[in-house]
Amino acid sequence: MRRALSLLIGLLAASTCLSPAARADDTLSFPVLVPLTGFLSLEGTSQRNGAVLALKQTPAGVAIASEIVDTGTSPEAAVTALERAAGGGTVGAVAASMLGTQMLAMLPLANELKLPLVTVSGTASITEQGNPWVFRFFPGDAVTKAAHARYVVEELGKRQPAVIYQTTAYGQSGKAHLDAAFKALGVTPVFEEGVDPAAKDLLPVLTKALAANPDVLVLHLHSGPTALLLRQAASGGVTLPIVAGSAMHQPSTAALLEPAELKGVCAETAASPISGGTPEVKAFTDAYRAAFGKEPDAFALGQYDGMTMVLEAVKAGARTPDAIRKALSSETFKGLAMTYKSDGKGNMAHSAVIVCYDGTSRVPALVKRYDDPTLAAK
């Protein structure tokens, strides 16, 4: 009932986002269908912002249109949004939800409609369906978790990790890839446990993890639980190194904690725009702050890079969804976060970085970059 009402309200809200202006026949549309409400709204908002910023780079001589639709958290809402978007003129490509279950629901329809879906979803299975219309501009778990495990074992020299993960699909997928990566490195975790996202107190799992005598804590949790566990670890005087999942790199996660609580904490991610880097990354970060009044994260940068690659294809003459798909499938694109190239399945991103906090600020430093980390772990 609650979900149905959410869906109804979401669709009503979405209908108000549609541009009332009639489009010219030669206008290319790039709908942004992302979760702006529900449990993934934080990441979905980053995704939307990245896409919106990219779509401001209108190629000369091409009329661009875009509509933003909130897909909420249900697969049916995402499918409905895609059907609506497809009926709105010539669609070039779709910035599609990062929620794996929504992507899996949209893929058959995208195949039927012949529309490229450009996403930053980390769910491994979306590029394992044999669907030529999906393009992932964020490293999947196979990449990020390999980097995660390799940093723990190779850089920190730890061989007794305690793994705490979320019981959601995101958590299960990450845990499976962590297990595989640790196994490839000859390491067996001394403790593994899943945590429900609604759990308010993480001291029980932290106590049990510490009782297993680990030499490092490895986290794969959403934003709030990551901050909660770090806070409880800090107040409990835990001095073990902690290497967290990509939720930790998000500025909004760090904002929940004091810099001292972050000392010695590292995290894997695709990129960390606020940590600086090239002048282009700095320009992106400044533009993002000016446009949205927020700090950008890797999801925003990944979606920005994805939509920028789409626009590069348009600049090069692609005017149909199939031409854009062919360009995404075959071209190499040097984005802000990394260089993107399809592996034949739609996986465009093959790099990951490790960032660490020094305890004096909430801005992490880039400490290690892995380009295709899975190769060495195999």
């Binding site: 702006l36 908002t45 107190d201 001291l203 029980p204 934003s223 709030g224």
Partner: protein, 290 residues
Amino acid sequence: MAALQLLVNGVALGAAYALVALGFVLVLNATSAVNFAQGDLVMAGGLLAVALAPLIPLPGIALLPAVLVLMAALGLVLALAAYLPLRSRPPVSVFISTIAVGIILQNGAAILFGPEPRAAPPLFGDDTLHIAGLAVPEQSLAIVAVAGLLIGVQQWVFARTQLGRRLRATAQDPEMARACGVPVTAMILVTFAIGAACAGAAGLLLANRYFVTPTSGGDLILKAYIAVTVGGWGSVPGAVVGALLIALFEVGVSSVLSYPVALGALYLTLLAILVLRPQGLFGEAVRRRG
């Protein structure tokens, strides 16, 4: 020692849950309506504290009066919009209207505050006290103290004041209360206001230590519902004890087994109570005759 540490955390969490359950059961008693927006009112209280913090640069406890007043006002709006127009309709109408209010609150919060998790300022301090080998965050002590004080004040109002007697009369038998001159509609409005104020206070207490997002109220309403069922449907002391038991159960079972098991066990226990002791721990058994 670890068990004691977990007990401290469980009691702090239970105290906040108790405030949520208390607001829930008050409305239930006065109106027979299940207010499914109660969890979202907790979220609203937490975000209200976050919004007020820059305006009142004092420890979080200084925000409590403002949160109580503003949330009470929100409770009045909830009663006027989602309960009073529907009170002569079947109970399911109110059930759905409060769900709708909850969704409106969630989406309104998402628009106003964005989706990021946020933290309210600590009630008094943010240090961790080390007492007999236990690490006790000041915030945990503050949660227990403030929740205990609010529950105590509320019980005193209900037991010792004219307003409390009128509220209890309304809860027990609205028609008889109206016949005796009690302004029943006004009492229902006051009950909604108190219920929302309780939720807001819980939001303030929880939002520093456990953070708050627009969707964080969803699981709290389930906890309140279970607490009221375990304690006894309609029993105020039962709701408080039920909430404490749930928090201790959650922390205890998850520390021995795991979170998924604790969650499953909690719902199985609820099912067992519904079957074996439907009146709960403190409720009165009602038998039909004939």
